[in-house]
Structures are given as C-alpha cells and as structure tokens.
C-alpha cells in the first residue's frame, strides 16, 4: 500500500518546483523540449496506475493523450472555441471515450488486453491521419489559440509542471486510498478479491477510466504547450513509448515512470541536437537497461536514500513474484 503523508506530498510539490525552476538553467530554445518531457511524465504516471498498480498492461494509452489534444485542437482551430470551452469539452468527452474503451478492452485478459488497447488506438490513429477535413490528416492541426497570458514558452512550461504535479498528487491520493490498496491486491490475486466481496471487473474499469481521463488531461496540456497537434500522438508509437518509459523507470515504484521519461526524453533531445542518430542511442540505452534492469531502474535504487525518496514502501518481493497478468512470460 502506498502511504499518504505530508512529507511525500511535500516532496512532490518540491519536485514540481524544481521542474519549474529548470527555466533558470535551461536555455530558452530548449525549454519546449523540457516542457514536453514534463507533459510525458504526467502521461506516464497516469499509465502506471494501470500497469504497475492494476497489472493491466495497456499499449494504447496514446489514444487518450491524443484524444485530449485533438479535441482542444479541433475546437480551437476548426470551430474557434475559446480555450476554456475546449478544455471542458475535451475532459467531458474523454470520460465517454474512457468508459467505452474500458468496456471493450476489459473483455480481454493479460496481453490480449494490451493488444486490444493497441487496436483501439490504431483505429483512432488511422481515422485521424486520413480524415483531412476534420483533423488535418497527416499534417495535424496548427494554430491553437491560447489566451495572452499563456502565449509564452515560460507560461506554458509552468502550466505543464502545475498540471503534472497535480496529477501526481491525485495519483498518490488514489493509491493510498482504499481503492488503491484494493487495486494492488487485485493485481496480486483477482480471485481472492472476488472471494472477499470485490468485483474485479468493476475495480479495473474504474482504474481504466481514471487513467484515461488523466491522460486526456495531459493531452490537453500537450495541445496548449505545442499549440499544434499531429497524429503520431494518438498512435501506438506513443503508447509503446510510454509503456517502455514506465518499464524502464520501474513500474513498481511510485515515481519510476517519471524517471523513465526523464532518462529517455533527455537522451533523445540531447542526442538530437548533435546527430540524427537519436534512435540508435536511445535504442541502445533501452537495450542496455533491459539487460541490466529488467524490472526497471527505480527498484534498484530502492536501497539507497535516493530510492527511499523515490519509492515509498514498495516491496522487493514484488519483483520476485510477477503478478498473474504475466502468465505468458517465458517458462
């Protein structure tokens, strides 16, 4: 169980302030890349509610991220709606999308669940990429209108940091709550949860919907900070990248996903400025981590002081007994 304490909440706020303070050290031209990293961190945290805590390996989380962004973009660019209307519309329609896709995706179990989420996000991706009239197709949509106070890299960075911090605090609260504790128990042993009076499907459903809505909120942030959207945001590439980030950082540590995002995104953007082989470097990095830390980097920090900051009471036994969703793993 996660513990909710003022110390941990304060730590998250401090982490947020540190991310905000990056504007003091990062050159202006690099700020958008940092902002994007912050946005992805929030998305990865929302994904880990499913992966690490519910044992639901979703591969299509990009669906919600892209959906939130596209609703804002279409509202703003195609219909000239004000930003607050766009945001309200994005979040409320994301609830509907999350409910519908949860009903579909949760029919399947284990990796089939993952592939079903992937299929859903690919359907949405192809629809978006081909539908030039509504979504701008492959080109995406450019020119999202934001209020004046938001029309600077600095303000957008602060918004991204603020929302991501809020999402993290909310997730900490949820994981510490009875629901979060039962979600963990469900990952360990769904049958036992059912025999104690919980309905596994209903619990997974709520987790899926929450994760979907939070990802859509991060999508809204992406739309605001980029003032543009493009279809890869919704595709399986985004979902798979987020999945890898979570796995790399450590899905059983609370802040593991952020660690994964920071490592991968920082490497990618740094290499990108010097060479076009960022994929090569990132790929090698991921492969190296697979060999050195198959359970992610977070858990291996656990013993250290840094790890205690990161982790919370995650038990090492978890690494030794993979949850039941991973039954298809190598014998």
């Amino acid at each position: 169980m996660e513990h909710l304490s003022w110390r941990r909440a304060l730590l998250l706020v401090l982490l947020g302030l540190a991310a905000a303070a990056l504007v003091l050290v990062v050159p202006e031209s690099r700020l958008p890349a940092v902002t994007r990293t912050v946005m992805l961190a929030g998305a990865a945290m929302s994904l880990n509610l499913l992966i690490g805590n519910a044992g639901l390996v979703s591969m299509g989380h990009g669906l919600f991220l892209g959906f939130g962004a596209y609703v804002v973009a279409i509202g703003s660019v195609k219909h000239g709606l004000s930003l607050s209307w766009c945001i309200a519309l994005a979040i409320s329609s994301a609830v509907v999308l999350a409910v519908v896709s949860a009903i579909i995706a949760l029919r399947a179990r284990a990796l089939f669940f993952g592939l079903l989420t992937l299929a859903l996000s690919q359907v949405a991706f192809v629809f978006v990429a081909r539908n030039y009239a509504l979504t701008g197709g492959d080109d995406g949509l450019v020119g999202i209108n934001v209020p004046k106070w938001l029309d600077s890299d600095l303000a957008q960075h602060f918004v991204a940091v603020g929302v991501t911090t809020a999402v993290c605090l909310l997730l900490l609260m949820i994981l510490a709550s009875p629901f979060g504790a039962i979600l963990r128990a469900l990952r360990d042993n769904p049958e036992r949860v059912a025999s104690l009076g919980g309905h596994p499907k209903h619990i997974e459903f709520i987790a899926f919907v929450i994760a979907g809505i939070l990802a859509a909120i991060m999508g809204v942030v992406a739309a605001i900070t980029d003032q543009a959207v493009e279809p890869t945001l919704i595709s399986w590439t985004t979902g798979a990248t987020l999945l890898v980030m979570v796995a790399l950082g450590g899905r059983f540590t609370f802040l593991g996903p952020i660690l994964g995002v920071v490592i991968l995104e920082t490497t990618r953007t740094l290499v990108q400025t010097y060479s076009e082989h960022s994929d090569l470097v990132v790929g090698l990095l991921v492969m190296g981590c697979a060999l050195a830390f198959p359970e992610g980097i977070g858990p291996s920090l656990q013993g250290s002081r840094l790890g205690r900051w990161f982790g919370g009471p995650v038990h090492m036994a978890e690494a030794a007994t993979p949850p039941s969703t991973e039954r298809t793993a190598a014998p």
Binding site: M1, H3, A176, P178, A185, N189, G197, H199, A317
Partner: protein
C-alpha cells in the same frame, strides 16, 4: 436443530466438465451452530462442490440458497456480502502485502469501501485487523509480507482474511492441508474457538480423518460426486458402505 432453517443449502446440484460429472445431484444443508465436514477420496468433487456453493462456478442444474435466498447464479462477491466467507485449498493470500494489510483489504472489501478514492487505506480498520490477527496468533508478525510468512502462518492468515468479512457462515477448503500434527491441532482449536465464540457455522473439507471426527458435529461423505452418507460422526464411522468406499483404502 431441525426447527431452524438452514443457513446454506444445496438442492440437487450437478456440475459436469465435458463428459466428466464432478458433482452429481448433491443435496446438503448447514444449520446454525453446526460444524460440518465433507470428506471423500481424491477427485470426489469436494472442491467443485465448494465452488458451486461460493459461486466460483455455476451448477448445470440444481439450486443453491444462502439464508433462505436462492443464489444459484450469483457471483462470488455478491454472496460475500450476504455473509459467506471462504478460504482456499491452495493458500491464496496477497503475497506482496503485509499480513495486516491482507486483513485490512478484506475488511475494506466487506464494508464496500472498494470505490473510496480518498482516505488512507493503511490506517483503515487497523484495530479490527490487528484483533483478527491476534485471534489467529499472528499479531507479532503482522508487519511481515504475507509471501514471506511460513506455510502454517499463511494458512492462519488465510483464516483471518476469511473472517475479516464477519461471515455468518464459513467455508474452509482443507484448512489443515500440508500442516504438521502440532500445527493441525493448533489451527483446529483456533477454528473451533472462533466458530464457538462468534457462533458461525462452519463447513469444511478435510482429508485427515482424526481431524474430522474430533471436530465435526456432522460428516458428509462424498464419493464420485455423490453423497454417500450424511450423519453424525459416530454413524458415519460405523457405516459399512463408507468403510468399503473410503476407509478401506485410507485406513
């Protein structure tokens, strides 16, 4: 006893898997204050019968009722809220949670706090959970991970978790399986004490004959999916057919 209505009743339940009939036309009832044992050789359909009673599987035909209400096709979780508690044959605690957390989860689920998104689970129902662990003798180990407890302790924890929903009838699937003699005695006296103190009727599956006859107030013998004998321990022990079908091979 016959005046009271049964807390748990099965009427002519049958369950087949393909061509194999695991449970055939079984009727039984558990009354208040009773401790009923189900015995039978391996493959007699004992666990399948339990699954039908708890809702893990649905019978092909027949009826299951709980406190006078027909629940034949209700899922397990709903029956729990009607007062049915069960333990599993294979120990099934939550290995990555501590003993205390295991019981807390049970209490949270039983109180329908499943969808409560605020408040702190680790602080919820601590006293009650600790008291339950005390009852099964695990108080000093309540902060250990369940997966790291000894086998006997896991079974004891299992019992505490099953009790966490304050069941009005308790189903135990081989509560002493894999235990040594001393552990078995300890476990049983514990179950006995709890059943008596809370006046919970118990239905349990058991292999160990000495256990059955020292503990049960009634014994049901299941052979090849059918009820062979149903009666007081002394009656069952004396029954010729039981001797032939069952004791012949294991005594």
């Amino acid at each position: 006893m016959s005046l009271a209505s049964p807390v748990l009743e099965a009427k002519g339940v049958t369950k087949s898997f393909g061509a194999f009939t695991a449970v055939r036309n079984v009727s039984l009832a558990v009354y208040p204050q009773e401790v009923v044992a189900i015995i039978g050789p391996n493959g007699a359909g004992k666990t399948t019968l339990f699954d039908l009673l708890t809702g893990r599987k649905a019978p092909d035909s027949g009826e299951v009722s709980l406190f006078g209400r027909v629940v034949t096709h209700e899922p397990p979780w709903r029956r729990v809220h009607r007062g049915l508690g069960r333990s599993f044959q294979v120990s099934s605690v939550f290995p990555t949670l501590t003993a205390l957390e295991n019981v807390q989860i049970g209490i949270l689920l039983a109180r329908k706090q499943t969808f409560q998104l605020f408040g702190q689970a680790s602080l919820a129902h601590r006293a009650q959970a600790a008291a339950l662990l005390d009852q099964v003798g695990l108080r000093d180990r309540m902060d250990r991970l369940a997966g790291e407890l000894s086998y006997g302790d896991q079974r004891a924890l299992e019992l505490a978790v099953a009790l966490s929903s304050r069941p009005k009838v308790l189903l135990l699937d081989e509560p002493t399986a894999g235990m040594g003699g001393e552990e078995t005695d300890e476990c049983l006296s514990r179950v006995k004490a709890i059943a008596a103190a809370e006046s919970i009727p118990v239905l349990f599956i058991e292999h160990d004959m000495s256990v059955v006859f020292s503990f049960a107030t009634r014994v049901i013998v299941l052979v090849a999916g059918e009820v062979l004998v149903n009666g007081a321990p002394a009656v069952v022990r004396a029954d010729e057919r039981v001797r032939e079908a069952y004791f012949g091979e294991s005594f």
